[in-house]
């Protein structure tokens, strides 16, 4: 039997598939389509210190094989998430990863520490790369020393393993990865969206109200694969891969490039069943290319 299980710091995953942060809210909506216990894990929408309303609309735009979004971290704040959303997800037999965001070091620290209150969250994903937060989020994600600092701060504040989510909007992704590894990251999560823009011809203005948005979807998959491939050779912590995944072949491509598990974002929007469908297809796909387990395939594309 093909073994889909994979153990990562804090996460004993029955399979390597999880919905990506921000594309699945806190699971309620998709729980009406299928049993969330099927998922390896769920990565929750970003949590900030207090409630945020996010950016004005339009917040999304479609692009060729992709989309732009500038939601702007709309969320009810970490306390409400712990009170109302975590217990909901906690009903399911799946791991929970909390996506931690903020505008200042203090806010990151506060959010990370807040998750110590609950034992239903298994790991933190540290979102230093959300391009839609103006107050400093972007600097955390593009400067290695800032990234290291926020990683350290969060590690100190939390009992949980920390996966740092890297931004692709950098000259040197390996340098970023090494900096956060050195600062104590237990894993990496990559990639977040690539900053892009669409101009709406009828109004002659950027379509997204925030002007720029983050590009996601199949369009960015080659960039994600390249960055994971590069980073894998220079770090020893595991990588959760994401960026354009929409089927089991894509998952195998990420595993071969060096990811140990993957997250699926944009593809949920066109097909709400994409995660369970990938999980069902994965054993056959692994077998077809000569693998008995997920573990087997990790990094096997690196030459």
């Amino acid at each position: 039997m093909t073994n889909l299980a994979i153990n990562l710091p804090g996460l004993e995953l029955k399979n390597p598939i999880m919905p990506a942060s921000g594309c699945f809210a806190f699971g309620r909506e998709y729980s009406e389509f299928y049993d969330l216990s099927k998922l390896g894990a769920v990565i929750m929408k970003a949590a900030t210190g207090t409630e945020r309303f996010g950016n004005p609309t339009p917040r999304v735009a479609e692009t060729a094989s992709g989309m732009l979004n500038a939601i702007g971290l709309q969320n009810p704040g970490v306390e409400k998430i712990i009170e109302k959303e975590v217990p909901f997800l906690g009903q399911y037999d799946t791991s929970i990863i909390a996506n931690v965001a903020g505008s200042t070091l203090e806010e990151y620290e506060k959010v990370a520490a807040a998750f110590n209150q609950t034992d239903q969250v298994h790991a933190l994903e540290l979102n230093i790369s959300c391009p839609n937060v103006k107050e400093g989020g972007i600097q955390f994600g593009t400067d290695p020393s800032m990234a290291a600092k926020v990683t350290e701060t969060v590690k100190n504040a939390s009992q949980l393993p920390v996966y740092v989510k890297l931004s692709p909007n950098v000259t040197n992704i390996v340098e970023m990865a090494k900096a956060v590894e050195l600062a104590g990251a237990d894993g990496l999560s990559m990639i977040n969206t690539i900053t892009g823009m669409q101009i709406h011809l009828p109004t002659k203005k950027p379509l997204i109200a925030n002007k720029t948005g983050g590009l996601s979807g199949p369009a960015i998959k080659p960039v994600a694969i390249r960055m994971i491939y590069e980073v894998k050779q220079h770090v020893s912590i595991p990588i959760i891969g994401m960026g354009g995944i929409s089927n089991a072949e894509d998952v195998l491509e990420f595993l071969l490039a060096g990811a140990s598990a993957v997250a699926v974002g944009t593809a949920n929007f066109s097909n709400p069943f994409v995660c369970p469908e990938i999980i069902d297809a994965l054993p056959e796909t692994l077998n077809r290319y000569g693998f008995d387990s997920v573990e087997d395939a990790i990094g096997k594309g690196i030459m």
Partner: protein, 251 residues
């Protein structure tokens, strides 16, 4: 409950300038959908689904009518589909129009352009409940006008064109006085029209249906929000709406 359904296309026809009428067959949607709900339609080659309102339902034949305007790549591709082909949709989506059943009353329907479709299924449903229906339908020009007879069969119907090429000239708001007495209104159309209407009819109970660019269409991505009047909260058009009480949201 929203399901992912396959719909069989039965009929496709252009009924006005760039405007397509499409009849599709599906048991689940035809049995469960209420006026004001929409379908989130997958279009081959497009990343995102397209929200299209339910314009009519025939429960016996298990068919749903969609009316859409070709405005971009997605609707252009939808327009090339042929009877016998099928379409993948999520639906029925969103919260529809609330229908106040008790008293007999007169209802004003106000539709602008491609906001007209959901009002037809609503009007038909209200007529079946013996409401009196008055309709004001605004279009850009004569060539864009559709469903005049259908609405006329529900009750008194005014057509308004911006350029005066057909019916009354101007905007739907210019005709509201003519329409006479009514008890409540339902409206769907471009935001500037809805703004004008909700301002003008501030004393009347009414419901409006809104549009916004969507990601998921099920309430998970926070793309389609609208600020509510009460202090600062956002509602999601795809799942809390698309229909709201006229004074509930800030346009």
């Amino acid at each position: 409950m929203i399901k992912k359904e396959t719909m069989l296309i039965k009929f496709v026809e252009q009924i006005a300038l760039d405007t397509i009428e499409m009849v599709v067959e599906n048991a689940y949607i035809s049995k469960t959908a209420i006026p004001g709900q929409f379908l989130h339609v997958a279009v081959d080659g497009q990343t995102l689904r397209r929200p299209i309102s339910i314009a009519d339902i025939n429960r016996e034949k298990e068919t749903i009518t969609l009316l859409f305007k070709i405005v971009g790549s997605g609707t252009a591709k939808l327009a090339t589909l042929k009877p016998g082909m099928s379409m993948d949709v999520l639906g029925p989506s969103g919260n529809g129009f609330q229908i106040v059943d008790k008293e007999p009353s007169t209802i004003l329907l106000i539709g602008g352009g491609i906001g007209v479709p959901p009002l037809y299924y609503l009007g038909k449903t209200l007529a079946e409940k013996n409401k009196e229906i008055i309709s004001i339908l605004g279009f850009q020009t004569e060539k864009s006008v559709f469903y005049e007879e259908k609405f006329s069969s529900l009750g008194r119907t005014y057509i308004v064109t911006n350029d005066g090429s057909y019916g009354e000239t101007g905007f739907v708001t210019d005709v509201i006085e003519k329409a006479g007495q009514f008890d409540r209104y339902y409206s769907c159309g471009p935001v500037p029209m809805l703004k004008a209407i909700t301002a003008k009819l501030v004393d009347k109970p009414g419901m409006i249906s809104l549009e916004e660019r969507m990601g998921c269409g099920v309430g998970a991505c926070m793309a389609c929000v609208i600020p509510t009047d009460s202090n600062g909260g956002y509602k999601k058009i795809c799942s809390d709406g698309p229909v709201f009480h006229a004074q509930e949201v800030s346009l």
